[in-house]
């Protein structure tokens, strides 16, 4: 009997069950999907807990504090504790301090990163010699798309023409990207079906 249960059909049964339960949602909401959905949510939240506890709380706070005696870690730890200030009505507002710190530093990093890491190189790559149809179209495409986002004037007159060239470019690009992505998504589905039919049920080799 033990050999029977070491057969892939049984060892892979939980995996196959949850795979099918997720697919069943395509038909409609049902108890199997609901079960899988809640298991999935519970596991992934637990996964995130374990991951963050080990990689952040343990490795970035506890170990530096107890083994390396890096007392500076107490500052962010205190900020972290302030996240719970909301539970003490009198100092509830203090939970905004850690939020303000994270949002402020994100804003600082992003301010630079967007201007330095995005605008500069993207503009740089657009300064091309107009010696081929491709380059001409690239420059027209970039500029007209950019102008499409112009907020200060209604899209009428010459600005309207440029903006409609821009939106036409946008539609070409979006249609193309949509069509292009189908293959990658279908590849994933093929992977799952191969699991079910070949690895689990051995219906094909």
């Amino acid at each position: 009997m033990p050999e029977l249960f070491s057969h892939p059909f049984f060892t892979l049964l939980p995996t196959a069950f949850f795979t099918l339960a997720i697919f069943s949602f395509l038909y409609r909401d049902n108890p199997f999907f609901k079960f899988a959905e809640h298991v999935f949510a519970g596991l992934s939240a637990g996964y995130y807990c374990g991951l963050i506890f080990q990689s952040v709380i343990n490795q970035q706070v506890w170990i530096p504090l107890t083994q390396d005696e890096r007392w500076l870690v107490l500052v962010p730890a205190a900020l972290g504790v302030l996240m719970f200030a909301r539970f003490v009505p009198k100092i509830g507002w203090m939970m905004r301090l850690p939020l303000a710190f994270v949002i402020g530093s994100t804003a600082g990093i992003m301010f630079i990163q967007q201007l330095h890491g995005m605008v500069l190189p993207q503009v740089g790559r657009t300064i091309l010699p107009l010696d081929s149809v491709e380059n001409v179209l690239l420059v027209i495409g970039v500029l007209s798309t950019l102008i499409y986002f112009y907020f200060s004037k209604p899209h009428t007159g010459p600005l309207g023409w440029v903006a409609s060239v821009g939106i036409a470019f946008v539609m070409v690009a979006f249609g193309a990207h949509f069509g292009y992505t189908v293959m990658a998504r279908v590849s994933l589905l093929i992977g799952r079906i191969q699991f079910l039919l070949i690895d689990w049920l051995h219906l094909a080799s």
């Binding site: 807990c49 939020l99 402020g104 690239l138």
Partner: protein, 207 residues
């Protein structure tokens, strides 16, 4: 104090990161690095709030006899087992944490991902109608690129794959660039508004 202090903290944190970018030197680098590590640590503490939120919602369902309470119980058990084993026994390979991830969670992740194959089809069928010139352009390029990607496209018209590649390399790149530049300006402006304390909706102020 209550409304000014958070704004000042956000301002200082933002300016610090900007100064660190242009400055050279061990101190500057160190301060910026430290600030980033602090972000992670604060986020780590916030995790407990997240878990608290899940537990409260589902505990409430159990307590009030919500029709889906049995599923809430399942969720809480999974959360406890997975999270508890990760916290107590570690997350390395060979642990319960790891095998639950490999056997149950990861396959569900790829299955959910593969559901996109169905959704991309239903979205295309429903949305790609030639209602006007613009939607006709969208539809046409999508179909050309789809045909250009499969072997049969070559038999329908030999240059289809080249057309598909050309569309991806020229107009598509141009639009991506235009959107990226515009969005970067918008993001930088948003960031500046946050640093200057003009945009404070995230603090529940100035709405």
């Amino acid at each position: 104090m209550k409304s000014r202090l958070p704004v000042i903290v956000a301002f200082l944190a933002g300016v610090l990161m900007i100064v660190a970018f242009f400055g050279r030197g061990a101190v500057v680098d160190r301060v910026a690095e430290e600030a980033l590590a602090w972000q992670t640590i604060v986020a780590g503490f916030a995790l407990l709030l997240g878990v608290g939120s899940i537990v409260r919602v589902h505990w409430h369902r159990l307590a009030t006899g919500h029709p889906d309470r049995i599923y809430s119980l399942v969720l809480l058990i999974c959360l406890t087992v997975m999270g508890g084993s990760g916290v107590l026994f570690g997350i390395g390979s060979g642990t319960l944490f790891d095998s639950l991830f490999e056997r149950i969670q990861a396959p569900m992740m790829s299955t959910m991902f593969s559901v996109l194959a169905f959704f991309i089809a239903s979205a295309a069928y429903r949305a790609f109608r030639a209602r006007n010139v613009l939607s006709a352009i969208l539809l046409l390029t999508a179909v050309i690129v789809m045909l250009g990607r499969i072997p049969m496209g070559q038999y329908i018209y030999h240059a289809l794959p080249d057309w598909a590649n050309w569309i991806m390399m020229v107009p598509s790149v141009a639009v991506q660039r235009g959107i990226i530049i515009g969005a970067a300006l918008g993001a930088a402006s948003m960031a500046l508004r946050v640093i200057l304390g003009i945009e404070r909706t995230y603090l529940g102020q100035g709405g």
